[in-house]
Symmetry: C2
């Protein structure tokens, strides 16, 4: 049941009819859904043009995996019976891409990322498209790629005339300039505290915090504390060389980091991670990461990468807080079809 | 355990080391695998360039579905617990693409297709990349698109210098010309019978038959009997307006058809199909196809589409009978990682 406020937003936003998943087939032939599909397609094409221009190789990664296909949020893995063994629906192709950079250099994949999220709301989907890259290189090169890819996606979609015809403000998008603003996690915490928000160093940022910090423009928040991030992000004191891209409307739209390529340190970081603690409770251990750890040992190359959530970028493009309006087939508990 | 013949092939083919899945991590950094990845990426890019040039919209289809995500081979569905309901890993995005053509016109998707195939051999994978299109139009337009897409993929990959450097003959590929040869299913049966093969009208063609008919060049086999094809292929007497693309080395590399857009006939064809019989045994019925049937009723547009198996096209490109050598992460029962 929608609240009065939700109903009001849906009624006034040009994509209001799409902000639902309980009667999705009824909107598949609508003009609004066609605009969303065209804008999504334009954004994807822009990312791919960038990858081609920059010499990235597209890789088809596996979509049923062992736990090496999980992101840090182990609790949301979809499990299935893979011939008597546990298989999981992939959440990130990151480690599979990393395995190929020694020979291929810059690589990317675009495909579904799965989360067993039971919530039916404006923020959660059970599958969404992730644009992922890995490459030999450093943190500054990483931020440049993220900025260029996202900038290209935003400006390509902004050129879709149908957006403006539907009444979606594209001026916001055309106003996006490079370089994106930057602040460190430490600066972000201080700024939030100055706003009277009850948050301490070491806490993860919530979506409302991210939106407050970003305001109307893309924002990079860099150098998060090591303990709240994925085990293979490269250590830098108490921090890691990580970066989240925050966009208006959506909050965190991309996560990125330089990867740890010191094999000994990587093994240590894995077994001390919160994710590993959760994995141990599921009967998993270091052996499940053996193939990946072996590759890092064999090819200790400085490298970095990121995952950009297509639907989160589309939230900014389509000017909506509701991710269900941002793709033709938004998937959650009630929208299986 | 490999037979002596298999070992001989593996030893003499430039990609011999990749014709295995039981120790896959060991080849991820190899020069051969990098060539395969680059050729695959080039083929994908060529298909997408064609789609852009022709004005196709890329659609992100769901990858967990109800039975409307199944192809005719219901027995190979991967099932998973989707919040207490049965979900299936998608085998084809076809019906989801079809749902959008009334407004979007030409659409495509490229993504994983899943099959719960327990066999560990040179022909079976549990997931593979499928390039799918749907568009308002007729059978001749369909064959033209299939020919153009496949031609573009083959010639783009043939230009990868690394292929020739590895000792893979690219002359075969550069010799591929349009239009592709064509024969009807009825002609194919007659030709096979003339070769002394024990086959009757109504039998499906086996891989060895397809390879015999194709010889060294791509071949379209059109107008199969209705009863051996997917329920929504458009009826044409006892046949359907269907087309399989046969390639040297791989056999059937693509399936295509004009779709039935007569709602009454479509419903009738569904309930009389062999697939429906299998679905009934699983407790499914017409209601499971309601959203799709409703859309065809609402938008009765002449349309057609095809699904091209990327890895099968790569078999021809890489000149191998072993599909495991044709993608960086070939997935089967033993290669979960």
């Amino acid at each position: 049941m929608k609240t009065i406020t939700e109903t009001k937003i849906a009624a006034t936003h040009p994509l209001g009819e799409l902000m639902q998943t309980n009667r999705r087939p009824s909107v598949l032939g609508s003009a609004e859904l066609a605009v969303v599909a065209r804008a999504e397609s334009a954004a994807l094409a822009a990312a791919r043009h960038y990858f081609e221009k920059e010499g990235f190789t597209e890789v088809t990664v596996p979509h049923i995996t062992q736990v090496t296909g999980a992101c840090e949020n182990i609790d949301t893995l979809f499990e299935l019976d893979y011939f008597g063994e546990s298989g999981y629906l992939v959440q990130t192709g990151q480690l599979y891409l990393e395995a190929l950079i020694s020979r291929l250099g810059k690589v990317y994949c675009i495909g579904p990322s799965f989360r067993a999220e039971p919530d039916i709301d404006e923020r959660h989907l059970t599958e969404f498209t992730l644009v992922e890259i890995e490459f030999p290189g450093d943190f500054e090169q990483l931020l440049a790629h993220m900025e260029n890819i996202t900038y290209a996606m935003i400006h390509a979609a902004a050129s879709c005339e149908a957006l403006a015809e539907l009444g979606i403000n594209t001026g916001r998008l055309k106003a996006v300039k490079k370089p994106f603003a930057r602040m460190t996690y430490d600066e972000a915490i201080k700024k939030l505290q100055q706003h009277g928000i009850d948050i301490s160093w070491g806490d993860d940022l919530k979506s409302k915090h991210e939106k407050l910090l970003a305001g109307d423009s893309p924002l990079f928040i860099t150098h998060y504390p090591e303990k709240i991030k994925f085990f293979n992000m490269r250590r830098n004191g108490l921090h890691v060389n990580s970066c989240d891209l925050i966009l208006p409307r959506s909050g965190e739209a991309a996560g990125a980091a330089e990867r740890e390529h010191d094999h000994k340190l990587l093994c240590e970081k894995l077994v001390n991670s919160e994710m590993y603690e959760k994995l141990r409770k599921r009967g998993k251990d270091v052996k499940d990461f053996k193939w990946y750890l072996d590759i890092v040992e064999k090819y200790p190359i400085q490298h970095a990468g990121c995952g950009i959530g297509l639907n989160r970028v589309m939230q900014f493009i389509l000017d909506t807080d509701d991710i269900r309006a941002c793709t033709p087939f938004p998937m959650n508990r009630e929208s299986l079809m």
